[in-house]
C-alpha cells in the first residue's frame, strides 16, 4: 500500500485497519502523523456534549461533498449515511472535522495524481494538523491557475474565515460550556469547508 492508497482507505469508515495499512503506517511517518491527527480529532470530539448534534443540513452537506469527491461510496439500501454517523454518539462531532480533513485530503490526493514532469516525488503532502489553518496551502494550489483578482478574493476570504475560527476557538477555550460559542466555531468550520468547495468547483469549471 502506498500513501495515496492509504489516504483513500481512510474513507472506509467501517474498516478497522488492514494488515497492509498497518504496515504502511509503521513505515511512513507522514501517514502515521495524519492518522494520529485524525485520532486526536476523535478524542477532542468525544469531549463535546452529545446534545450538541449538528443540524441535518451539516450531515447533508458533508455527505454530498464526500460523494462528489469520491471519498465515500453509495451506502447499502435502507442504511443512510446520516444514520450511520448518528450512531456514533458524542463522536458525531468527529465527522464534520474529519470531513474537512477528507475534503482537503481529496485535493491533496488529486494533486498527487496529476502528472508532475518536474519531479518524481514519492512523498504525499500531509495536511496540517492544526484545524485552524487546515490545508490552506492546498486551497492555494487549487486556485493557483486563476486570475490575480480571483486569487486575491480567495485569500481575503480565507483570512476572514481563519480569523473567525480563531475568534470562536478563543471563546470556546475560555468558556467551554458556551453553546453559542461552540456553534459559532462549528459554523466557522462549515464556512471554511464551503470555501474549499467553491475552490474545487471553480478549478473544475
Amino acid at each position: 500500500m502506498n500513501c495515496v492508497e492509504l489516504h483513500q482507505s481512510l474513507a472506509e469508515v467501517e474498516d478497522g485497519g488492514s494488515v497492509e495499512r498497518l504496515a504502511h503506517l509503521r513505515a511512513c511517518p507522514a501517514c502515521s502523523a495524519l492518522v494520529r491527527d485524525l485520532n486526536q480529532i476523535a478524542a477532542a470530539a468525544s469531549r463535546l456534549q452529545a446534545a450538541d448534534e449538528p443540524s441535518p443540513r451539516v450531515w447533508n452537506s458533508i455527505e454530498v461533498a464526500l460523494r462528489q469527491e469520491g471519498l465515500i461510496r453509495l451506502q447499502r439500501a435502507g442504511r443512510p449515511l446520516i444514520t450511520t454517523f448518528s450512531r456514533w454518539g458524542a463522536a458525531r462531532w468527529l465527522v464534520p472535522a474529519a470531513a474537512m480533513l477528507l475534503l482537503a485530503l481529496g485535493i491533496s490526493v488529486r494533486r498527487e495524481l496529476r502528472p508532475n514532469p518536474s519531479a518524481q516525488q514519492a512523498s504525499v503532502a500531509v495536511p496540517v494538523a492544526n484545524p485552524s489553518d487546515l490545508n490552506d496551502d492546498d486551497l492555494r494550489q487549487e486556485i493557483a491557475n486563476n486570475t490575480p483578482e480571483i486569487k486575491t478574493l480567495y485569500e481575503e476570504n480565507l483570512r476572514q474565515v481563519n480569523d473567525s475560527i480563531r475568534d470562536a476557538q478563543g471563546v470556546v477555550d475560555e468558556t467551554p460550556n458556551d453553546e453559542d460559542a461552540r456553534r459559532s466555531l462549528m459554523d466557522a468550520y462549515q464556512q471554511k469547508a464551503m470555501l474549499f468547495e467553491l475552490a474545487m468547483d471553480h478549478s473544475a469549471e
Binding site: 443540513r57 486570475t147 483578482e149 480571483i150 478574493l153 480567495y154 481575503e156 476570504n157 476572514q160 474565515v161 473567525s164 475568534d167 470562536a168 471563546v171 458556551d178 453553546e179 453559542d180 460559542a181 456553534r183 459559532s184 459554523d187 466557522a188 462549515q190 464556512q191 464551503m194 470555501l195 468547495e197 467553491l198 468547483d201 471553480h202 469549471e205
Partner: protein
C-alpha cells in the same frame, strides 16, 4: 488639428469594430418535458434565467471573444450548458453572458465566478453558486433555493413557501418577503437583512460571525424569537412576551428571547452572531 481628430476617430472606430467583430451571439433551443433540469456553468460572465412560454429551453449567449466556446448537451430531460475556455482566455476574453429561458417548473443550477446570477418567476428548485457573483432571485415559489457565494451580494425577493439556504462568506445578504418551512442564512462577515413577517410555522435561522443582523418585521408578526450575540450587542424594538426557559443565558444587551403574535401559527426565529450586532426592528408604515 484636423488630422489629429481624424486619427482619433479612426482609432476609436477600429477599437469599436474590433470589439464588435470579437463579440458573437449563439442561440440554442431544446425541447424538454415537465420538471426538466437545466445547468449552466460559466466561469466568467452573467447568467439570467426567466420562464419560457412552453416546454422549451432557449439559451441566448453573447461570447466576448473567440477564446471561449459553448459546450451544450441534452441528455433526456436534462440540459447542460458550459462555457469552455480555450488557451489564453482570461476573465475578459473568456466572458460569456447568458440569458436563458426555461419552463417555470425546471430545476436550475447556475455557476459563475464573477458574473451576476439571476433567476426569476420560477417554481422549480434553484441552486446558484459563485465566488464573487452577485445573486438575485425573485418571485420564486414552492421550491428549494440554495445559494453559495464568497463575497457577492445576495438578494432574495418574494420567495414563497421556499426551502431557502444561503451561505455567504463576506457578501451582504438581503431577504425581502421570503417565507417558507426553512429559511437559513449563514455568513462570516457579511451583513444579513431580513424584511418580512417570518411567515407561518417556519424555521428562520440567520447566523453571522462578525456581520450585523437586522430583521425588520411588522408589528402583527407571529414568531417565537431568540437572539444572541456572543460578543456583540442586541437590540429589540418590539415588546416580546418573555419565555420561561431559554437554551442560553439572557444577558441584557447580549441576548433576548420571547414570543409575539399568535402562538399557534408562530414561526421559530433564531438570530445568532458571534461578534456582530443583532437588531429586531419594527417595520414603519413607509417600509
Amino acid at each position: 488639428m484636423v488630422s489629429k481628430r481624424a486619427a482619433k476617430l479612426v482609432a476609436i472606430g477600429v477599437i469599436v469594430a474590433g470589439t464588435l467583430v470579437a463579440e458573437s451571439k449563439r442561440e440554442y433551443h431544446f425541447s424538454v418535458g415537465p420538471r426538466a433540469g437545466v445547468s449552466v456553468m460559466n466561469p466568467y460572465g452573467s447568467i439570467s434565467v426567466k420562464p419560457s412560454l412552453n416546454n422549451t429551453v432557449v439559451v441566448n449567449a453573447i461570447l466576448h471573444s473567440d477564446k471561449v466556446e459553448i459546450d451544450n448537451n441534452q441528455n433526456g430531460n436534462r440540459v447542460d450548458i458550459q462555457s469552455h475556455l480555450l488557451a489564453g482566455a482570461d476573465s475578459d476574453s473568456g466572458r460569456v453572458d447568458y440569458e436563458v429561458l426555461v419552463p417555470a417548473d425546471a430545476s436550475v443550477t447556475l455557476h459563475s465566478s464573477t458574473g451576476s446570477l439571476r433567476a426569476e418567476k420560477l417554481h422549480g428548485d434553484v441552486s446558484l453558486e459563485g465566488a464573487g457573483a452577485a445573486v438575485d432571485v425573485r418571485d420564486v415559489s414552492d421550491a428549494h433555493v440554495h445559494v453559495k457565494t464568497m463575497n457577492g451580494a445576495v438578494n432574495l425577493d418574494n420567495i414563497q413557501n421556499g426551502h431557502v439556504e444561503v451561505d455567504s462568506l463576506s457578501g451582504d445578504v438581503t431577504l425581502r418577503s421570503v417565507t417558507g418551512p426553512l429559511v437559513q442564512v449563514v455568513s462570516t462577515s457579511g451583513r444579513i437583512n431580513y424584511f418580512g413577517d417570518f411567515g407561518n410555522s417556519g424555521e428562520y435561522r440567520l447566523t453571522s460571525h462578525s456581520g450585523d443582523i437586522e430583521a425588520t418585521i411588522p408589528e402583527w408578526t407571529s414568531a417565537d424569537v431568540s437572539a444572541r450575540s456572543v460578543r456583540g450587542e442586541v437590540h429589540d424594538d418590539i415588546p416580546l412576551q418573555p419565555k420561561n426557559h431559554t437554551w442560553f443565558p439572557i444577558d441584557k444587551g447580549r441576548a433576548f428571547a420571547g414570543t409575539m403574535g399568535r402562538v399557534a401559527v408562530s414561526s421559530t426565529v433564531v438570530l445568532r452572531s458571534f461578534s456582530g450586532k443583532i437588531h429586531l426592528r419594527k417595520r414603519s408604515e413607509k417600509q
